[in-house]
Amino acid sequence: MIRIENLSKTYGTGDAAVHALKDLSLEIKDGEMTAIIGTSGSGKSTLLHALGGLDTELSGKIFYDETNILEMNDTKLSEFRLKNIGFVFQFFNLIPELTAKENILIPLMIGKIKTDEKYFSELVNSLGISERLSHYPSQLSGGQQQRTAIARALINKPKVILCDEPTGNLDKKSGNEVMELLKKLRLEYGQTIVIVTHDPEIASSADRIIHIEDGMIV
């Protein structure tokens, strides 16, 4: 379970201070698919980055089960992220010099973990990219790039998948396909999924929708 207690984030100081998150508290159950929805600048991406431990300059607490990730140093937090969290970004963030397969295997390379070939084949077949593994990102369509990014997020079998506007850079058809895949993969592997989006239609496919405005849950 993920538990957020009194989380606040302020950018800048004095009159120029912007409160991205204001004393926010929240609980996300294991295996739940949660959509965080809000307008641009509402603080939803800040919340997602905080959940992933990418932003640690915050006040409050973020517990994964009993572990407060905001108390960890960078090395421990990176290790925690490697083992427990998978990220899917709006712009895919694949490494252009690496093939799709190499991109998928990056987390294993970072963690110096041996590839589970059976799981890898199963994953790329589920995502429909088994024929595209030797291609470079520039040779893949937007939908294929996002599927590669999802495979990369899942390769370590993390407990939590954090998606930042995963369909934001895709056409409607590809976006729906990605959402269907995320739902299918959750059923297969049982991950907790948190999706940040501004699209109510995408959010409607989640188990739970959280609205954020001005850094607060409304």
Partner: protein, 243 residues
Amino acid sequence: MTAETAENLGFYYPEYYTAMLKFNEKISNREIKEYVSSVLKTPMRITTIYDLERNAKINTLSANANAVILFILLFILCIISILNLMNMNVKNNTEKFMTLHSLGLSFSGIKKIFMTGMMITALISVIIGTALSFGGKYFLQTKYEQWYSILAEYNEMQGITDMSVSFVKPVMGIYEEGTAEYAFAEKFQQLEDTFFLAKEMWLPDIILPLCIISTVILLSMLICSLSAVKNIKSERIIEDDKN
């Protein structure tokens, strides 16, 4: 040698007299000159072996100073360019590094990757740079030796055996075309023209390490530039893809 020939050969003084004096006790350069002046009946410019040694030292120092100034200018230029290229490299790779960070790579791991890349670049540059510098030095040294042996041969023909005291250069202008002397002077001139800087600059020992460092820096710059260009290209592909 007539006065006219000597002038054509570049001598300032129409005639040279060489004398070897042995003193029983150690005396200063000034005392030697005073003694020789008192012996000679006509006033003459006196150059002692100490003057020649001092001139040789000044020439070497001057050549070293030229080389050092050239190196410092090159070094400053290279450092500015390298810093600029490194900044560009970091900027171009920030997105990739942050992606790797989000996938679980710590900042110390990112630093390690960056430093390893820089070290590999520097190592490649050191190997190539050292080889090129030794090759260049060998080439120039060989050319100098050829140049010097021709000069020595010519001086011997002119009856000058000790080139540390005085020497003459073969000049094409004073010989008729088609003569053996003209061909000799032509060969000498061609060889002298192959030095694109004053030949004295290539002689001091300081040149080799300077050459190595300069070449290494220049090669690092070249490799960093190529890497940056490649990064810009791939970033552009991604940007195009996004659009």
